[in-house]
């Protein structure tokens, strides 16, 4: 007699709810490591003030370019500032700038995309073409031009990043809203006597927020690269303020002399944070696609 064995593999995890699903879709190790590293970064940024760090902006000419030691864990940079405390304090600056610029971009881009997707026609064409024009222009070049034109300060830096996020989110939301335009529940909302704008804001935008959330960490990762990139070439944030891009710039000239520590540590911080944010974005995306 033939026996048929049916193996039903049950996914076991000690986590619950959505986090469990995240682990199921991406592998527990991947998810947990990403969340621990990002959590550590954010926790460090929050408590940087009360940690017993050395003053990140104190210039000390007698301790220039010291190699990593027990008193300066990551060594010191050409101005004698402690690289470890600067790297930690820069988390706050970089993350804050990146997150705030992305949120600004979302606030402007999501309604624009939803309106374009819902009303369609000429408005839709206009906004889509406009978004394509913005996206086709090199961002660094645009950032340099605007900073040179409008003045080199943090506000302008945030607005440049935000401006580049508008088309990303507008197109993302448009692609979700556009097929929903003829959906039954939109018709039903019309039957209830809702105006078009009410339908867009109350019924359509909430339905488009899942892809927006999964795009959010990816945009933050991108924004960190842009902010660090602009700061590296001397725009955006200037030297005494701790920022990874400008820190790399400070140490860049000394790498050839074997003094690698002022540049490599902030560089590693950028790599890790961008990597982990992208990981997070991809994980959230997997939930979004699993729902489909």
């Amino acid at each position: 007699m033939k026996t048929i064995t049916v193996s039903t593999e049950i996914y076991r995890s000690r986590y619950k709810g959505w986090f469990r699903q995240l682990c199921f879709l991406n592998g527990t190790w991947n998810v947990v490591s990403t969340w621990i590293v990002l959590g550590l970064f954010i926790a460090l940024a929050l408590v940087a003030d009360i940690l017993p760090l050395q003053n990140p902006t104190a210039v000390n000419a007698s301790e220039m370019l010291q190699p990593p030691s027990s008193s300066h864990w990551f060594g010191t940079d050409p101005w004698g500032m402690d690289v470890f405390s600067r790297t930690i304090c820069a988390i706050r600056v970089d993350f804050l700038l990146a997150v705030s610029s992305v949120i600004l971009g979302i606030l402007a881009g999501v309604p624009l995309g939803a309106i374009a997707g819902f009303f369609g026609g000429f408005l839709d064409d206009l906004l889509t073409r406009f978004a394509e024009v913005i996206q086709s222009f090199p961002q660094m070049l645009f950032g340099m031009a605007v900073l040179a034109l409008l003045g080199n300060n943090i506000i302008n830096l945030i607005f440049i990043c935000a401006f580049y996020n508008i088309p990303t989110y507008a197109r993302l939301v448009r692609s979700v809203v556009s097929p929903l335009r003829e959906a039954d529940f939109v018709q039903a909302a019309k039957v209830s006597g809702n105006t078009s704008l009410m339908i867009v804001f109350r019924h359509l935008i909430p339905n488009a927020l899942v892809p927006v959330f999964s795009q959010f960490p990816l945009s933050c990762a991108w924004a960190i690269q842009i902010i660090a990139g602009l700061s590296f070439i001397g725009l955006g944030i200037r030297a005494p303020t701790p920022e990874w891009g400008s820190m790399i710039n400070l140490g860049a000239n000394y790498i050839v002399f074997g003094k690698w520590w002022p540049s490599v540590f902030p560089g590693l911080a950028i790599v890790i944070s961008v990597w982990m944010l992208s990981n997070l974005g991809n994980q959230l995306k997997s939930i979004f696609f699993a729902e489909r």
Partner: protein, 315 residues
């Protein structure tokens, strides 16, 4: 209570290359408190008639001719803003597929409260008790009222739709195949619920279905549609016991077929909506057609009080 009168409604849909003549002169009246059943095959324009009344037509649909009179107002001529005052408040629609007609991100009670708040100009919070009450009336207890559409069954979703539709005691309720996708026992419950609610608020009902048996249970008047036109209309008894139009006869015959025998069917299919043929549109499928039927179009005419037929060969 309002009187709805549709006169010679013609609707085209143009998809960019071809024009589909969807409605070709629909005429009917729904007196206050009446229950009218619209019957017909798929694609004969039943749902398009409903969407025209609600003015929810797709952008490429054009109303060519005709008028939809709600008392003294022509709905076709109203602006979108004026129409919003009528939708949900005076005329309302129950959708075919209730589960997809509810926003997946709003709970049942939010849907009902939304409609109520919109038309009674009260805050959403204040309309919540009324919404719970309405849901309880349609058979959704309070502990289920906060559930989201995906947590409710198809029948439950339809009950939410009915509660939404009745939130403002509309004068005319259009039910567009409200029981498709529900199983038979739930169908009966939903239909009974609609009947009970309609009686309670005293509104008139337009019941759209392809099931002539179901329609004859619910409605007191029946209008049979074929290829975008009303071919026969009359009281329930007139249509069921003495059908005049060959299409109605064939429809009833296929409905009443006894089990065991081969089911009678109507040969041929619904005419191509892209062409406007001369003569009676049923002629190609009609066993009684003669030369007159192929050349001139029959108009609706009264053959006995309240019974109208568009056919040369009867009456």
């Amino acid at each position: 209570m309002a009187n709805l009168n549709i006169q010679d409604l013609e609707l085209n849909i143009n998809n960019g290359q071809e024009t589909y003549y969807v409605l070709r002169g629909v005429t009917f009246t729904v007196p206050p408190g009446a229950k009218l059943g619209l019957v017909g095959e798929s694609g004969c324009g039943k749902s398009m008639t409903a969407t025209s009344i609600m003015r929810l037509l797709p952008k490429n649909a054009i109303i060519d001719k005709g008028q939809i009179m709600l008392d003294q107002i022509d709905l076709i001529k109203l602006s979108e803003k004026e129409m919003r005052q009528i939708r949900g408040k005076r005329i309302t629609l129950i959708f075919q597929d209730a589960a997809s007609a509810l926003n997946p991100l709003c709970s049942a009670v939010q849907h009902v409260a939304d409609v109520y708040a919109r038309h009674n100009s009260v805050s959403k919070k204040k309309s919540l008790p009324r919404a719970y009450e309405l849901l309880a009336k349609t058979g959704i207890p309070k502990h289920l009222a906060n559930n989201y559409p995906h947590e409710l069954s198809g029948g439950m979703c339809q009950r939410v739709m009915i509660a939404m539709a009745l939130a403002c005691s509309p004068e005319i309720l259009i039910a567009d195949e409200p029981t498709t996708g529900l199983d038979v026992t739930i169908q009966i419950q939903v239909i009974e619920l609609i009947e009970r609610m309609v009686e309670e608020i005293g509104s008139s009902l337009i019941f759209i279905s392809h099931d002539i048996g179901l329609v004859s249970e619910v409605c007191d008047r029946i209008a049979v549609m074929y290829a975008g036109k009303i071919v026969e209309s009359g009281n329930k008894e007139q249509i069921i016991s003495e059908p005049m139009h060959p299409y109605t006869k064939a429809l009833l015959l296929s409905f009443r077929s006894q089990s065991g025998k081969r089911m009678p069917f109507i040969p041929g299919r619904v005419p191509d909506l892209r062409t406007r043929q001369e003569g009676c549109s049923f002629a190609p499928r009609c066993s009684m057609a003669e030369s007159q039927c192929w050349h001139s179009e029959p108009k609706l005419r009264e053959i006995s009080p309240g019974h109208e037929v568009a056919c040369f060969r009867t009456g």
